[in-house]
Symmetry: C2
Subunit: 314 residues, 2 copies
Amino acid sequence: MELVTLADIRTAAAHIAGVAVRTPLMPVPWADGDLWIKPEGLQPVGSFKLRGAYNTVASLPEEKRRAGIIAHSSGNHAQAAAFAARAFGVPCVVVMPDVSVPMKIEATRALGAEVILVPPPERDDLTTKLAAERGLNHVPPFDHPDVIAGQGTIGLEIVADLPDVDVVLVPVGGGGLASGVATAIKALRPAAAVIGVEPAVAGDAADSLASGELRKWPVEQTYGTVADGLRTGLSERTFAHLTERLDGIVTVSEDEILDVMGRLVRGSRVLVEPSGAVAAAAYLHHGSELPPGRTVAVISGGNADPKLLAGLWS
Amino acid sequence: MELVTLADIRTAAAHIAGVAVRTPLMPVPWADGDLWIKPEGLQPVGSFKLRGAYNTVASLPEEKRRAGIIAHSSGNHAQAAAFAARAFGVPCVVVMPDVSVPMKIEATRALGAEVILVPPPERDDLTTKLAAERGLNHVPPFDHPDVIAGQGTIGLEIVADLPDVDVVLVPVGGGGLASGVATAIKALRPAAAVIGVEPAVAGDAADSLASGELRKWPVEQTYGTVADGLRTGLSERTFAHLTERLDGIVTVSEDEILDVMGRLVRGSRVLVEPSGAVAAAAYLHHGSELPPGRTVAVISGGNADPKLLAGLWS
């Protein structure tokens, strides 16, 4: 399989300039050692997903793009796709599970998307059917070279801001973010280690990489994590990228995730959703499993349930 | 009186590079019109104060600096001074009112400062006395050219990120931030309007600018605002800068401040303290009093009382 290249990521960076926020690296003075976080919750849709979705829409030939796009998502990708479509002034359909959080449905509609609610098992078929009927371009949440290249722009920015970075910690769900970031970092600074992080109860990527074959874990298990963005398994494409380019993978517990969400909001005033906290949780709770040195943890998003966060806060 | 220049601000920018976070402009898609916010709560001490304090310490001749610094503050300036001193490895004394929030005292101590608690009326005399006895350099919270120049780096960054900005909204307490930002913006983009914002119940700057003379309001009145960073009055120095360089001033109500704190945290995932919310409150509640066009609101800090914010959130 052909993997995404640094050149693809540079093209993506040109596409997203002025649309995605150029997030800073924030030092974390209350952590022992040399830790920086990259707060992707500052994106206008609250997560890194904007980078990949926007790059994918921007990469479509103009005539195809004009027909519009379709995406399926229960979470951050829905808003990212809707935002990208609106920026280009093209139609957007988002197929969402009928069990989605009402706030997320509303946010997606507020960005101008047509939201179609379906029972979860019907999601894929309906997306394929609507794409064919209406001539819509499917923008998948992670399994696409342009999505991976878009997420990889985070890696470019890390190396630009901290050229002597030693370790980059990145959450792994479907693996699009980790594939893109690892591609950029290993190309620009091969000496740095890129380590994936996932919840132990959704540790399918660690299992896959250790065994050398793509392993799917049952949904009943992976849905046990509070990190709703990391319940998905890898695709063949992201598995190939991570096998080639990731230096290791660390898993964190549910308690560690919640602990670090609270510490980030209290200590650094950064709102973080559970999936966004795993990389910092690896640094703060699993330091002995990590290479030493100047470390960046990618905080992938900030769309946390307000009730959950308010409870961790005070 | 000699005013701070663009050259002073460029020098400050060189000093703070790599220490203060280069905060991004975040678009605010849920606001009508063209609004961006600059979230200074991302600074490692949670507010813009790091820029001015660090620039002041960096500007001291090395031999003087080695003796250490002294600051008085009940709030954000305390942590900024302590952080700056620690970065240079020099001693820091912070004189704090004995009524200060325990969390803020602890945070200042955690940054290595010697904290001395005094009854509020004794603050100035003790600071002067200790500075003389120990040979410490006084780093004031706003009434100093190097402090103003440091805060002005925010203006440089705004013009770099949004060269065609039309309006910049900036909180006014002691006036150091507004003096610096107005200096940078009017030098780099004279067509842009720089508008100060303060709470109506601490509207001494609006009163001073309207009357053409520096007016002090009684503490019993200015302490009526929830925006604890904006209770201070201007100095002769900041009054001179604002008279020359500010295009106007708008006041906001207490309810408007609280409303916008909640909207920023819910809509943009940005933690903001009351003082930090006034500029966005002017945009969202007093649009008819402002010039039209592409507007940046400076969100000066994020050190909010967790209980206050948790209540506004859900």
